[in-house]
């Protein structure tokens, strides 16, 4: 060593100091690619590259569609591929959202990534943190795409810092399911389902007293049901404006609104007005309870995407004592709104620019009123654009089966607030696990609702902070 080690180390320290200063000047969330970064580069969308491309450009699309939705997607994709010769979409079905996202994250290291990917609403923050996609805003700007026909709630979940990150596509939201026959038997008006949780309780009392059903409502302690009750009641799930003003640091599980829901839930079970059907995510006992005359319930909460399967089972004629009704989700108060749930489309940054533009072309096609209407008819998803509602196919469908409309109506209702456009938090699944465990402790082990919420909050906070720490926020 001929160079002076001291001089080198001084230079190194100085450089590090400069670097640290630069880093601390803005938070990780405002940096390029961060959650609230507002820079959008239209060239990222690669429209010009697609125009210059000689042969057809292939788009590999990872999705999670099954059954009638899959049939619809296959047919629609074929129609798109046949309608032009610039873009060819190749479908790659994944078993479910969780497996798809696990595979996506593995792909970030190995490079095995699609050109277009469907993901659920809980992964928005992680998608942003991974910096692995381009904001679709780049394509919107590059093509002067008109968003005015979209449901505002559909867009709002996926927008941060004024930048659209992903496009809503196959959307749904939890609603109230009830048995009109049981309502009639209990002397209730089947056209006037409950609008608040208090009304759910009152009507449950009447249903149980009249013997119309053993329980008023079947409650599945699934975290998303709690989250939607909370959102529609105006409660934020996490702090810092539900994670939408700056990065969430804590869960708001012990806010007065949240505690009111935990307590409502607990009292419904304690007073035998509600049936607890267990937290197993694959279990559909709360839906089966609607059809069970001796041990069942007259109401339950579930995603609007379940309307199709339920309608299919009940219209078989095997259950004459069940006539399904649907209504907006009740909440602590009237007049609230719910966030959008289910599938949105993201464009990975790793694909070459022509493929990104090709993926965007397919998104535009899927968002046309005709496609959104036929998807709503085929599988019961809520259309993302208002224009779909006047498409003859959907008009016909909703006229024949009015119960399918509710998810759409509910998304139009209520003012948009931080609480009800969707939660942004990194380790969303960890937060949900904590909530689920809290409900199990309250429902099964007799833990006091306030304590259960308290413990769930403590567990969730650890998970949130651990994630923030690791992502460098």
């Amino acid at each position: 060593m001929t160079r002076s080690p001291r001089r080198w180390s001084i230079a190194a320290v100085a450089a590090l100091g400069l670097l640290a200063g630069a880093l601390s000047a803005c938070s990780a969330d405002d940096r390029v690619g961060g959650t609230f970064d507002t820079t959008v580069n239209p060239a990222d969308c690669g429209i010009a590259n697609l125009e210059r491309a000689s042969g057809p450009v292939t788009v590999v699309f990872w999705h999670t569609m099954v059954r009638s939705n899959l049939d619809w997607l296959v047919a629609t994709t074929k129609a798109f591929n046949d309608s032009q010769d610039k873009v060819k979409v190749v479908l790659r079905q994944q078993p479910n959202y969780q497996d798809l996202f696990t595979k996506y994250k593995a792909g970030l290291a190995s490079g095995d990534l699609p050109d277009l990917v469907q993901a659920e609403e809980t992964v928005v923050q992680q998608m942003i943190d991974s910096r692995s996609t381009i904001p679709v805003q780049a394509c919107i700007d590059a093509t002067d795409y008109d968003l005015s026909d979209f449901l505002p709630r559909g867009l709002a979940y996926y927008e941060t810092g004024g930048v659209q990150r992903a496009m809503p596509w196959a959307i749904s939201n939890p609603v109230l399911f009830y048995n009109r026959v049981a309502f009639e038997r209990a002397g209730l008006d089947p056209d006037r389902p409950p609008r608040t949780l208090d009304e759910v309780r009152e009507m449950s009392e009447q249903i149980v007293k009249s013997g119309a059903a053993k329980y008023g409502v079947a409650l599945k302690p699934a975290p998303y049901i709690y989250e939607y009750l909370l959102a529609k009641s105006g409660g934020e799930l996490v702090d810092n404006g539900n994670g939408r003003r700056s990065r969430a640091q804590h869960a708001n599980l012990t806010s007065p609104t949240s505690l009111a829901i935990w307590n409502w839930w607990n009292e419904m079970l304690d007073d035998d007005l509600a049936l607890d059907t267990g937290s197993d995510p694959n279990n559909i006992d709360h839906l089966l309870a609607l059809a069970n005359e001796t041990e069942g319930a007259a109401m339950t909460f579930e995603s609007s995407s379940a309307i199709g399967p339920i309608d299919e089972v009940l219209s078989s004629g095997a259950f004459p004592s069940v006539k399904p009704g649907t209504a907006p989700l009740p909440a602590l108060t009237e007049g609230g709104g719910v966030p959008v749930g289910d599938g949105a489309l993201w464009i990975p940054r790793g694909s070459d620019p022509a493929r990104r533009a090709a993926a965007w072309m397919f998104i535009e096609y899927l968002s046309e009123p005709a496609q959104q209407a036929s998807m709503a008819v085929a599988g019961g998803y809520v259309p993302t654009v208002k224009g779909a509602v006047s498409e003859p196919a959907l008009v016909e469908h909703w006229k024949a089966k009015p119960i399918f409309r509710v998810g759409y109506d509910q998304l139009l209702a209520g003012e948009l607030t931080d609480a009800n456009v969707g939660t942004l938090v990194g380790e969303y699944q960890g937060l949900r696990n904590a909530v689920r465990d809290g409900f199990v402790r309250m429902n099964r082990q007799g833990q006091d609702p306030d304590e259960a919420a308290e413990q769930a909050k403590a567990e969730a906070d650890i998970v949130i902070q651990e994630y923030n720490d690791r992502v460098g926020a």
């Binding site: 696990t102 994250k105 970030l108 290291a109 992680q126 943190d129 991974s130 910096r131 692995s132 059907t277 267990g278 937290s279 197993d280 279990n283 006992d285 041990e295 990194g426 380790e427 699944q429 960890g430 465990d437 199990v440 402790r441 099964r444 082990q445 650890i462 651990e466 994630y467 720490d469 690791r470 992502v471 460098g472």
Partner: protein, 313 residues
């Protein structure tokens, strides 16, 4: 796969033939390196390297996505994770699982072995049945019981009088017991085979002598068979303990670590940390803990081996 639990024991490398001259020696050495190299490469890449990397990775907070920087946290991360309530709970679950599976498994295996250790017509059929669960993998056993415990149509659900209730596997009080039960059943065949082999090694004349002295079957079991069998028993207990620390398949198939993390054994916690939370640093710390526990049991085993060796001589 088991790559565990074998003690070095006493080692006598055979003395080299002394007549060799230098060229031959060099050729022999070259050949030897050639012969060990396939194994050596695999051990280096898939055992030594990942083991070292895990210890090192435990010092870092790792990002949830590739491309972001990992941050050096020194021993802080070890300290934080190893004292966290989550880890303590996981450790407790792992220990409970060991205690519920290993002694029960050995006792039942011994019972079967004693029952089948007699000269009767048709005993071979019973032996085959008793060892039959050797042919079931943990996945087969888990899926059989998962279906039998199905809350709607499961036969065991009906026998337990739990119809209309959430499955035993969703019950925080019983889930670990159920998982342990499935494990014991799956290991019963192996346990029976090991205990039978142990019994066969007990000299018949010893038992006959006891019989002549007027010892009944129970007294013969307690006073002759068990003491003769104790080295095998201790040894199987330790090996079984080490294997039980590695339980994963039954947890993944039956409970996925729940309910309330009551079945979140160490290996499952590692799996969860890596593939659900994308937290390699945390998994690395847990893996070092798992190694520590394995080492502890291995040391016990080496101790036992040494003692057994001295008994035998």
């Amino acid at each position: 796969m088991t790559r565990d639990a074998v003690a070095p024991g006493s080692e006598h490398l055979p003395t080299a033939r002394l007549r060799t001259h230098r060229g031959r020696r060099r050729r022999d050495a070259a050949l030897a390196y050639l012969l060990v190299s396939p194994s050596l490469v695999i051990f280096t890449v898939f055992v030594a390297y990942p083991f070292g990397r895990n210890i090192w990775l435990g010092l870092y907070r790792t990002p949830p996505f590739p491309g972001l920087p990992r941050r050096y946290a020194a021993y802080e991360q070890y300290q934080q994770i190893l004292t966290s309530p989550e880890f303590v709970a996981s450790l407790r679950t792992t220990a409970l699982f060991l205690l519920m599976t290993v002694p029960t498994g050995l006792a039942l295996g011994l019972l079967l072995a004693v029952a089948a250790h007699q000269r009767l017509r048709g005993i071979a059929i019973y032996r085959t049945i008793f060892s039959s669960t050797v042919a079931t993998s943990i996945a087969v056993a888990s899926v059989i019981f998962f279906t039998l415990l199905n809350p709607q149509v499961g036969l065991l659900t009906w026998w337990l009088g739990r119809e209309g209730q959430p499955s035993v596997l969703a019950d925080p009080q019983w889930a670990l017991v159920a998982v342990s039960g499935v494990t014991v059943w799956q290991n019963l065949g192996l346990s029976f085979i090991l205990m039978s082999a142990g019994l066969q090694a007990v000299p018949d004349d010893l038992l006959e002598a006891a019989s002549v002295d007027g010892a009944g079957p129970w007294s013969r079991l307690v006073n002759v068979t068990l003491p003769m069998l104790s080295p095998t028993l201790f040894f199987s207990a330790v090996v079984g303990g080490i294997l039980s620390l590695q339980a994963f398949g039954q947890i993944d198939l039956l409970t996925e670590g729940g309910p309330l993390r009551k079945t979140n054994v160490l290996v499952y916690a590692m799996y969860d940390a890596v593939f659900r939370q994308n937290n390699e640093g945390k998994a690395a710390v847990l893996s070092v803990a798992l190694f520590g526990l394995t080492l502890l049991l291995t040391l016990v085993q080496i101790r036992l081996l040494e003692r057994r060796v001295t008994y035998e001589r």
